[in-house]
């Protein structure tokens, strides 16, 4: 499935811990992520999934632990020792972040084309025609019609907004994308289309993805590996099919068995 061959991990997470005062966000989480790999983090609400994701994506400094990322030049760098300028450049070139609520990740008062083109302009592209045709191309890839390019995302449906957000993130060909419940709040048929689209893009582009979801079906469809979190700890990790078909921990068993069978 993945096109990039590498023996070296893209992201290394060492004992990441985050406290909110006395309360626990996430505790002692360690894992490696390889290029082209999709990792799902599942668990119930309040289990620390989003805290962990925010720590990984430098949006929230962990209380303890280290996160290293392999930069494009091949060197491993500790994310929290980068300068703010380097972190920002990373966020808008090499990384993407797809929010659960598309309005958080989009500029709602500028057109769809400008939303997709913003990253290009941020990294120095100054040719209107090229920016526009790239934006148009990306809208096509996420199945938004060309004639919507000058419309505000406010006039888009929930599913379209989410797809626009994905296009906006992928336009600079990032290597790592973080997703926080990308299908949350969408109805089931729209979810299915979005998952299809995501699966295709991820495999076409060889993306590494860390996806947070409480929906095991999403994890099953998209991810190669899965981590089950509970009360801040990672209680079980492994290949997705293995964990979902044969969960070891009692809590994982509960989680898997609580899926409604239609």
């Amino acid at each position: 499935m993945n096109t990039i061959q590498s023996d070296e991990p893209l992201l290394q997470v060492h004992n990441v811990t985050r406290y909110y005062g006395d309360r626990v966000g996430c505790l002692d989480v360690s894992f490696d992520l390889w290029p082209g790999e999709v990792l799902a983090i599942v668990g119930e609400s309040g289990s620390g999934k989003t805290t962990l994701l925010n720590c990984l994506s430098t949006r929230l400094a962990p209380t303890a632990g280290a996160i290293e990322y392999r930069m494009r030049d091949g060197a491993m760098r500790n994310l929290y020792q980068l300068t703010e300028a380097e972190r920002r450049l990373l966020m808008r070139t090499d990384w993407g972040f797809v929010h659960q609520n598309a309005a958080d990740g989009l500029r709602m008062n500028v057109s769809a084309g400008a939303n997709v083109g913003e990253r290009l302009m941020a990294v120095g592209q100054r040719h209107y025609g090229n920016i526009r045709s790239t934006a148009d191309d990306w809208l096509g890839r996420v199945e938004i019609e060309s004639d919507r390019i000058d419309d505000d995302p406010r006039s888009f449906s929930g599913g379209m907004r989410q797809r626009l957000q994905i296009a906006r993130n992928l336009v600079t060909h990032p290597r790592l994308v973080f997703m926080d419940e990308p299908t949350g709040g969408l109805d089931v048929s729209v979810q299915a289309r979005l998952l299809d689209l995501l699966r295709r893009l991820v495999s076409d582009l060889g993306l590494s993805v860390v996806i947070v979801t409480h929906d095991l079906a999403v994890a099953r469809l998209l991810s190669h590996r899965i981590m089950v979190m509970r009360q801040g700890y990672v209680i079980e990790a492994g290949l997705t099919d293995q964990v979902l078909d044969d969960p070891r921990e009692p809590y994982s068993q509960l989680l898997v068995s609580s899926i409604l069978q239609v």
């Binding site: 500028v110 057109s111 913003e118 941020a122 040719h127 209107y128 920016i131 526009r132």
Partner: protein
């Protein structure tokens, strides 16, 4: 500027209204602004005896740089004799007692509201701008903490998003005033709401430019001979407004024109926005298509002489 500090009788204003400590504070901000062209320096803006929006920032900057021997010119939208210019000129006549003028070439300090004189400024002149909103990123990013960070990190992609939107919606860059510029290849700056027609004049200008925003408590500056580039796209380059007719009174071309409505049947004329420039040209004998016949002026004068007699 020690000559401004002196003992005053009770009830008299200190020179140029502000006390000397305040002027020192503002001068420090100005010096910092000059050292970092285009950077918005916060300063402790004072309450002035006029409402915000009347140029309290510009007035404070002018008060801080003004000396006894200076000659002051006040411009409001290019004109010397409209409300704002008249009031502020009166303010400094009263509180500083400096010489004032309408003539651009005679002035040493020019405070302006939204225009730059058509006549090329020289090295011994200071141009002070009144700025309502100094932050060029404000309408794109409402958080001040975030815009400061964006300036610090030179994260200016958002500015081009605005220009992109302009082209997408209007087919061309429709921003006509407060057109964003990049100063000295570093800071993106709002040149106050001057028409973009004036942007090329800011570039490599011989005079010192000071920008004061009173309500927003910011001062910024462009030292003489500094590179100032108007932002644009490669395929949509920056261009200034063009007027298809010359000034109706003095016949000047390649100047910024104001529209004057003449009646309620669509009658209008376009005249120089810079009133001093227009008058000077007319004095030199240039006339535009709608200028009054000089003979008419002579008749009026004759009539007046006869009535007074």
């Amino acid at each position: 500027m020690n000559d401004t500090a002196q003992i005053y009788d009770q009830g008299e204003y200190n020179f140029a209204y502000l006390d000397e400590q305040t002027k020192r504070m503002i001068r420090r901000a100005i010096l910092k602004g000059i050292a970092i062209p285009g950077y918005q320096v916060p300063f402790a803006s004072r309450e002035m005896p006029m409402p915000y929006g009347w140029g309290t920032g510009g007035v404070q900057v002018t008060a801080a740089v003004l000396g006894k021997d200076d000659c002051l010119k006040m411009i409001d939208q290019g004109s010397d004799d409209t409300t704002n210019a008249v009031s502020l000129r009166g303010f400094f006549e009263k509180t500083a007692g400096v010489r004032t003028t309408y003539e651009t070439s005679e002035a040493t300090v020019i405070q302006t509201r939204h225009r730059i004189p058509e006549k090329t400024l020289t090295e011994d002149q200071i141009l002070v701008f009144q700025v309502p909103i100094p932050e060029p990123l404000r309408f794109l990013e409402p958080r001040e903490t975030e815009t400061r960070k964006m300036h610090a990190l030179e994260d200016y992609g958002l500015m081009h998003v605005k220009l992109y939107e302009d082209i997408a919606k209007n087919g061309h860059i429709a921003t006509t005033y407060a057109y964003p510029v990049k100063v000295n290849d570093r800071y993106v700056m709002d040149p106050s709401p001057t028409p973009k027609f004036d942007n090329p004049k800011i570039d490599e200008m011989a005079a010192l430019q000071l920008y004061g925003a009173g309500r927003e408590k910011r001062i910024y500056a462009i030292p003489p001979y500094t590179k100032v580039k108007s932002l644009d796209f490669e395929d949509y380059p920056f261009e200034v407004q063009k007027f298809d007719k010359p000034c109706a009174l003095c016949g000047a071309e390649n100047v910024y024109l104001d529209e004057v409505i003449l009646d309620d049947r669509g009658g209008r004329m376009f005249v120089c926005s810079d009133s001093d420039h227009c008058e000077e040209r007319r004095a030199q004998g240039h006339t535009g298509p709608m200028a009054a016949n000089p003979a008419a002026a002579q008749i009026t004068e004759k009539n007046q002489r006869e009535t007074t007699r």
